[in-house]
């Protein structure tokens, strides 16, 4: 544990014990527990490292004026401590455990009514039950708390019961957590085994009693809760106990299903349905779903007569359509969302699994004609949602390879389905002017997916225009990605046109959107890779890098206030350093590279360098001629990388910072009278 934290903790404990309800933020107790938990998990004995905790516990639990929130925190802290067997013994000997885990004690104090005390009690007890000694604290009220008026308490009780049962699970003779512990610590094994059996019996008996057709609202609540517990248990228990549980409850479950009580349908489904098992063959399901979808859209020709009732309820039902399409997507074995969106998704998924589209087949052709009509119509729908889904669909098709017929070459799916770019390209082009930026972005993305190189070259100016003029980040992000896709599909090592590259990089780096900047750096990375791979010499490589403005992009990224941008730039600069500055300086190539880099550095935007000198790299000055290796070395990249790789709030969200905040708040709280009107009110954000 951090020494500074250890030194602050006693005072923090004092503040907490005396705080009442005046804590500065509702998250601090949780965060303190997080910290203690992390320490315990790292194997530290908390009581040994911070003896003040024992005093704190004793002060809080014996003070009748302690705030419920602090008491609840203390109960959970005790549980955390007691989870370690050594600390358990210390706490047991100081009689703390017997006192705090007796719910009667809290009832007598009139505090049991407060749900946060009950939650603290359950959770404290739960963490205590990490070793067999803890089992002796298994208490009957847990079973009653399962139907507590507070949802949180009831749920915590359910979790707790599941935890206990799993803990006592007699897997195979040798391997249970309890029996293992017994082997390691043979003291009183009989007693512990008895504890275990007693606990399992008590819970099974309870399950059996609690399930059945409910005869009132209290019983209904109990049934619902117990079904939830059962679902939890059946999901986690292993064979002997799993089977035993099933045996115990099967009759009650059957009875409940037969009683058809609507309030129990959902929890019963949770217990009965196993999500992974399909009830019948996929083909049957698919044809079933398809006829259901036909009925939904009003086509009743394929179905048998006599179910007009069904028709009335199902025709036009968006809910049924959504479910059916979802099922269809699921059956195609991929996870799968408004009806059109889902239809597109389902279609894309199905295309990817059933490859063959036979253009010589008449019905297939008719079907395709329909699709072209639908896509054209939907591309100019009033709702941006529909237009966007249509653009996304075109993008997905563009990315998908299908084989038209055995003899023909593979092509993208949009070509096969929609007759290629003569149909889709005008739609996508038009969508570039869409008033909704989401749609513009999807159209750009779809264009990037079409692999028609010649067309992409033509589209580049339009894309550049979007990058410089579009007011919204989504479209600009997509443009940079467009260039990435284009350049990476290019087989030659020199990108198509250099002026275009330079303007994309400089515009991208100066963008207001952090993701545009990150994507721009991804583009720079691609160029970096190509430069060094293609030329085999650093000279030509770095030449082109300077020309393209890759280096300035990296340097401006390094000082960006958006962390992901700075981090990416830092990593790339390190890669660059590793590539152009090998350990031995004798290499002629390196000096060439250095000379080029010098030129580059001079050409760099003065502001980015001024920024650097401020950031501490004062050795670099733009009027001085320095080698690129020296320049890269002077940026302190390794230190920067270490900082940037950590969370942006790692200093202010640290345990030390938390302890300091608690202490500062307590002193400012006592002086708050001096500054009326300065009270910080918790409100919205």
């Amino acid at each position: 544990m951090d020494r500074e934290c250890v030194s602050l903790l006693p005072r923090v404990c004092e503040v907490l014990a005396a705080s009442g309800s005046s804590l500065p933020d509702d998250t601090i107790l949780e965060k303190l527990l997080d910290w203690f938990t992390a320490l315990t998990e790292a194997g530290e004995s908390l009581l040994e490292a911070c003896p003040c905790l024992l005093e704190f516990i004793s002060a809080v639990i014996h003070d009748t004026a302690s705030a419920p929130g602090v008491l609840s925190f203390t109960l959970r802290l005790i549980g955390l401590l007691a989870a370690a067997e050594d600390d358990f013994i210390v706490l047991k000997e100081s009689l703390v455990l017997d006192l705090v885990f007796s719910c009667q004690h809290w009832q007598e104090l009139g505090l049991w009514e407060d749900p946060c005390i009950r939650i603290g009690w359950i959770q404290g007890l739960r963490t205590t039950l990490q070793h067999p000694n803890g089992l002796s604290f298994f208490r009957q009220p847990l079973l009653q708390l399962q139907t507590d008026t507070s949802l949180f308490v009831a749920s915590a009780a359910n979790q707790m019961l599941a935890h206990v049962l799993l803990f006592c699970q007699p897997e195979d003779e040798q391997n249970t957590s309890v029996s293992k512990a017994v082997v390691e610590n043979p003291a009183e094994p009989m007693e512990i085994n008895q504890d275990c059996t007693a606990v399992v019996d008590a819970i099974s008996e309870y399950l059996k009693r609690a399930l059945g057709v409910p005869k009132g609202s209290a019983q209904l609540h109990q049934c619902q809760q117990t079904l939830r517990l059962l679902a939890l248990l059946l999901g986690q228990t292993k064979p002997p106990l799993h089977d035993k549980l099933l045996q115990t409850v099967t009759a009650s479950l059957e009875e409940m299903v037969a009683a058809d009580c609507s309030e129990l349908t959902l929890p019963l489904m949770d217990v009965i349905l196993d999500p992974d098992c399909l009830p019948c063959a996929p083909d049957l399901i698919v044809s079933g779903i398809l006829s259901l979808l036909r009925i939904c859209s009003g086509d009743s020709s394929s179905s048998s007569a006599g179910c007009s009732e069904v028709f009335r309820n199902v025709i036009g039902s968006g809910k049924v359509q959504k479910c059916a399409l979802e099922a269809l997507t699921a059956v195609s074995n991929s996870p799968g969302e408004a009806v059109l969106h889902k239809s597109y998704q389902a279609l894309v998924k199905w295309m990817s699994v059933s490859c063959a589209i036979d253009l010589h087949n008449k019905s297939h052709c008719l079907c395709l004609l329909d699709l072209v009509q639908v896509v054209k119509k939907r591309a100019c729908d009033m709702r941006w949602e529909v237009r966007d889904s249509t653009m996304e669909f075109l993008g997905h098709l563009g990315a998908m390879r299908v084989c038209r017929a055995p003899a023909e070459q593979a092509c993208d799916a949009s070509e096969a389905l929609l007759g290629g770019c003569c149909c889709t390209t005008p739609l996508l082009r038009e969508a570039l002017q869409d008033p909704e930026s989401y749609v513009r972005a999807s159209a750009i993305k779809a264009l990037a997916q079409t692999v028609m190189h010649s067309w992409q070259e033509g589209a580049a100016p339009t894309q550049e225009q979007i990058l410089s003029q579009d007011t919204e980040g989504f479209a600009r992000r997509a443009v940079v990605k467009f260039f990435i896709a284009w350049f990476s599909s290019h087989t030659s090592h020199t990108p198509p046109s250099s002026p275009s590259v330079r303007s994309v990089l400089s515009r991208g780096c100066a963008d207001l959107d952090w993701e545009v900047k990150v994507h721009t750096l991804e583009l720079a990375e691609l160029l970096l890779d190509k430069a060094f791979l293609g030329h085999g010499s650093y000279t030509k490589g770095s030449d082109s890098l300077v020309e393209q403005g890759v280096i300035s992009a990296l340097l401006s990224g390094l000082v960006d206030c958006d962390r992901p941008v700075a981090l990416k730039a830092c990593r790339l600069l390190i890669t660059l350093r590793v590539t152009v500055c090998p350990a031995s300086q004798g290499d002629p190539d390196v000096s060439d590279a250095t000379a080029n880099a010098e030129r580059d550095l001079n050409a760099l935007n003065a502001t980015s360098f001024e920024d650097h000198s401020e950031e501490g790299a004062s050795a670099v000055s733009h009027c001085e001629r320095v080698s690129v290796c020296e320049a890269l070395g002077s940026l302190g990249l390794d230190d920067k990388l270490e900082i940037l790789s950590r969370s942006s709030d790692h200093v202010h969200n640290s345990p030390l910072s938390l302890l300091q905040d608690i202490l500062t708040a307590s002193t400012s709280h006592t002086h708050s009278n001096t500054q009326p009107g300065q009270e910080v009110i918790v409100d919205c954000y």
């Binding site: 008026t149 507070s150 969302e337 959107d513 790692h650 200093v651 409100d683 919205c684």
Partner: protein, 602 residues
Amino acid sequence: MPEIKVTPLGAGQDVGRSCILVSIGGKNIMLDCGMHMGYNDDRRFPDFSYITQNGRLTDFLDCLIISHFHLDHCGALPYMSEMVGYDGPIYMTHPTKAICPILLEDFRKITVDKKGETNFFTSQMIKDCMKKVIPLNLHQTVQVDDELEIKAYYAGHVLGAAMVHIKVGSESVVYTGDYNMTPDRHLGAAWIDKCRPDILISESTYATTIRDSKRCRERDFLKKVHESIERGGKVLIPVFALGRAQELCILLETFWERMNLKAPIYFSTGLTEKANHYYKLFITWTNQKIRKTFVQRNMFEFKHIKAFDRSYADNPGPMVVFATPGMLHAGQSLQIFKKWAGNEKNMVIMPGYCVQGTIGHKILNGQRKLEMEGRATLDVKLQVEYMSFSAHADAKGIMQLIRMAEPRNMLLVHGEAVKMEFLKGKIEQEFSIDCYMPANGETTTVTTNPSVPVDISLNLLKREMALGGPLPDPKKPRTMHGTLIMKENSLKLVSSEQALKELGLNEHQLRFTCHVQLQDPHSDADTLHRIYTHLKSVLKGYTIQHLPDGTVIVESIVIKVSSSAEDSNTKVLLLSWSYQVKTWTLFLERFTLIYNGVLPGG
């Protein structure tokens, strides 16, 4: 009795994040789906496993309604719809739907800045989620399904904020979200119909405060900014992309114009620009003044406020900069703060609340020496000011809304327990209605008396008037007699004659008989006579006849006496009456009299 249940998963006795489950008339509705900024893990989102396990949220919930775009009300939306898998209808107003993704993107950025963040939604998820949203218009009733309907009302607070009236049959609930009962610089005041909901669920952020007039706070703010600028200082105002930033911009813009100030004002981010675009687009949602002046000049076309470039931070001389994020977590606002913190001429104005774990929280607590990354420390010499510009109803405003809506019950959320307790007392005292304040996870159950509307025939009403004087007075209820008939899904109260006519039925009379045994040694005729005399003495004003065939008749009741076959002392009384409610009650009352009267007399 039908019940309405309200369970907060968030905002129950706290101001963390709003997420409230309402069960009404068999429908389950989720109100708001907010996130808590104070956590970096799943605890920032509501835990839906309390409601259903295995992600069956769509099966359980009938709809989700988002009140406004603040993250503590909508921040968990993509999590719920794209990660937990809720696929049912989501409702919010048009402006909220447009602005929500901006704030979600803004927050996603802060999150990406923090390493070790797990389980957070992507840009694609935000879009996919927004596609599922069904936009609401103010005062337009939207039918969620055959039974459930919702209607949005103007709530002030922020652009697009709405209160919502949820109705199933005759039961209804109003949820306010965050609201403001006094108009501010860019928004109007909340308003609702006298809709008399069964429960009014109201926020209570300022439950105990009577806020000083907004003008005072504005004057104060302008004074502070002005002083700082005058002495050559720079002013940093950390904000979230939308809401307060716009209000403060209008404030500064008009002040700059009036005072003819030259110091530049900047926005640090493209987001705010986009936000301004939405304020222009949704001008009808702003207040009257802005709408009026719109014809000459759009309030959101700022003359003095320009886009910021990071190189400007080092420019000499005074300036005002709005920068995101609002709690000085990271990014632009933090970078500028670090640059300016060392100069006592500068100032930072925090216009809202900051969670623990942020620099904003630290400086508001009065910390002056901040530890920074890379073991550096930062001396905070600049002036730190806190000015809450959030637009919530204060205690007076909340009472005003209760008067407007006239709820039968009140339920407080989105406030601190101690303050709620105080307001609860006030409400119960002033309005004589029950006021609830459930904690998170606790369920409040309110039983409702469903009122069923019934038409009444004019003839019946006239007849009743003739019988009982003037027309019914709501303060003096009185019983009316008629037949309730249901025709074409509507209920009608008519006279029984008319009911028979309308339904084409014939009149039948039911007679009921029963036998009662008595111990009486007299002869049958004597017993009957004794009964006759007794009835005559107790039932004054009734026609009682003793007929020669051995029958006593009281109104429609016929009484005969016979002896039991086994025991002549046991007399069997045959009672027979026609079914008329009045007679029946009379009979029961009187028979008790007979029974008690005859026997003791023996």
